[in-house]
Structure formats: structure tokens, C-alpha cells
Amino acid sequence: MNAPDRYERFVVPEGTKKVSYERDTKIINAATFTIEREDHTIGNILRMQLHRDENVLFAGYKLPHPLQYKILVRVSLFFVG
């Protein structure tokens, strides 16, 4: 009854950006990317590729809620260069 329409899983509505980026205030060299309307299909691959980069200290993704169709990717580097 409260479930959103199924096409919301992949159609980005007008006005929202597909990818947005926020630097982390408390930790240096860290940022969170929010990718709208994506799921584990892209998230897991992104995370795996980030792990292969040697400058990356921390890389992870999560879906904050299964009914909100977006992923948060958190990346933090050893140093920005």
C-alpha cells in the first residue's frame, strides 16, 4: 500500500541529480557519493574496483533502505594528491 511504483527503481525523477557528492566533515580525505536509482548491480562493482586502487584507504557502499532506491558510496584516501 505504501510501496512506491516499480518504475521508480530506475527512472530518475526531474530535478534530482543522478550522482551527488559530499565531503565528510569529521574525517579528512573522505567523501560520500549518493547515486540515485541504482542498486547492488553497480554498487558492488564500484566497491570492488575502488578496493583495487592503492590510494584508497576505505571504500564501501550501502543501500540505506531497500525501499529507497539509492546507494551511498563512501570513499576515503590516504592523502589527496
Partner: protein, 303 residues
Amino acid sequence: VRLNEDDMEFDMIGIDAAIANSFRRILIAELPTMAIEKVLIANNTSIIQDEVLAHRLGLVPIRVDPRLFDYLSENDQPNEKNTVVFKLHVQCKRGSPRITVKSDALKWLPNGSELVKETRNATSDSSSKPETYTYFGCSQETIPEFVKNPIIPKYPDIIVAKLGPGQEIELEAHAVKGIGKTHAKWSPVATAWYRMLPEVVLLEDIEDDLAEELKSKCPVNVFDIEDLGKGRRRATVARPRACTLCRECIRGDDWEKRVALRRVKDHFIFTIESTGALPPEVLFTEAVKILEDKCERVITELS
């Protein structure tokens, strides 16, 4: 490794588990197919309810290449580029035995809908064509791919409904393009799965009686005996691919020290079973293209 008309098994070596899973997810949920979406029911006196009948019709796989069609969104008009129209008209006469309505009763209408829309305005032009539910500019039969292969359901023997004497079903079904994420009827594969290649390693040399015992334990005959000469025999791993990891070979005392069962981390054995709209190798190439498109999209949005 194996390729039939409808299913396929092949190996992918050297990729990561995340990519294998992404392919599996895309094969199940993001490849477009055609499936019946709108059912216009003119007459249904059978015991199957309208919505149940419409649901069953939606799940019938249709043998048509979805790449020839476009998506139909809400404000578009259904025309020959985005809709496939089927008709079902079955009647069971009084006095005849019960009829089972199978999916081959769905007839393709290449000229579009035949049901006439009721228009409110009283000016009836008898000279102009009556307005139907679809607006086909030209007949779909003229498209070259459909001349040789008419659009039919893939399996003609799917039971859709059952009729008793005196009951009738008359309906028109419109099939549109969609992806599995919206509804599972648009999934082009019956299923798609992968497993990692099992690795059976003999930690010590296993000889003679122990070798015979090992070979007889395995239910799928993974091990073989080779002769070393001088009457001694040794066990070797002949068919690790067939291993089901049942752990039968390490049951009992001491076997755990001699046999190690693992999986090879980057060797994936994919199996794809298609419902029939597209052959499985085409499905996989389309899945690769879709993954490419998704990644491109994220990259372009980022910069």
C-alpha cells in the same frame, strides 16, 4: 561448454565475484522483453476471473525480438512500434465436453486492435474508419523480420483457462516492452545462475587401498586411479568440475588431512536458461552492453 536453443552453460575465468553477480542480476532484471500488459476483455463467462486470466496471460512468454520495439510510456499512443496485439476468442458450445484453452489460441493481429472505441460525440462519420484502441500506421506484417516468423507465444501448450459448456472468452491482449525490475513477467530468462569451480586437492599421496576407497566414496566419480607401475596405484582428481561438494570424501577419520575441498576464486560456471524470446548468447551480449551503458551513465553524471 554447452549451447542448446534455449539454455547455455559457459565458463568465465579471471573476473571478480562482483562482476559475475552483476551479470546475473542484469540477466534476470534488466534485459527488456515483450509481455502482455493490457487485456481488453469483451466477454468472459468462464469461471476464471478477469484479473486472474489477465495475470496468466501476462506470464506467457512471447517469441519476438524485443530490440525491434520501443518502450511505451503513459502519454504515448499505442502504435506498431511499441505494441503487439493478440486476440483470444474461444467458445465452448452447449453439449460439447470441456475445453482447455491453451496458449496457441492467442492469435497475432498484425493490423492492430479490432475493438472499436466508443466515442462520445454523436457525429458518426460512416465514411471514416472507426477508432480502435491502437493506432497502427502500417501493418506489422510489412516489417521484414515478421514476414518469415509470425509472432506467437513461444510454447503453444501453456494452459491459460478451462471452459465448461456454454462459456466463452473473448479478449484482446496488448503486449509491450518492459524490464524484469518492474514485473517478473518481463524477465527474459527462466533463471540464470553461476557457481564457482570446485577445487579438490590431495594433500598427501593416496595409494592402493586408500585410493580405491576414495574413488568409491565419491558419488559423481571425481577421482580416478592411475597405475604407477610395480602394482601400486594412486588416486588422482580427474573431473573436479563434476564435484558437488557433498563432502562425502572427507567423511570418516583422517580423511580431512588427506583431501582439501575448496573453490577456485575466479572461475565461474554460468548457466543461462532463456524463456525463448532471445537465444541465450544474445542475452549475454545484451547484458554486457547494458552494464557498459550503466557505468557510462554514472561516469558522465559524475563529471
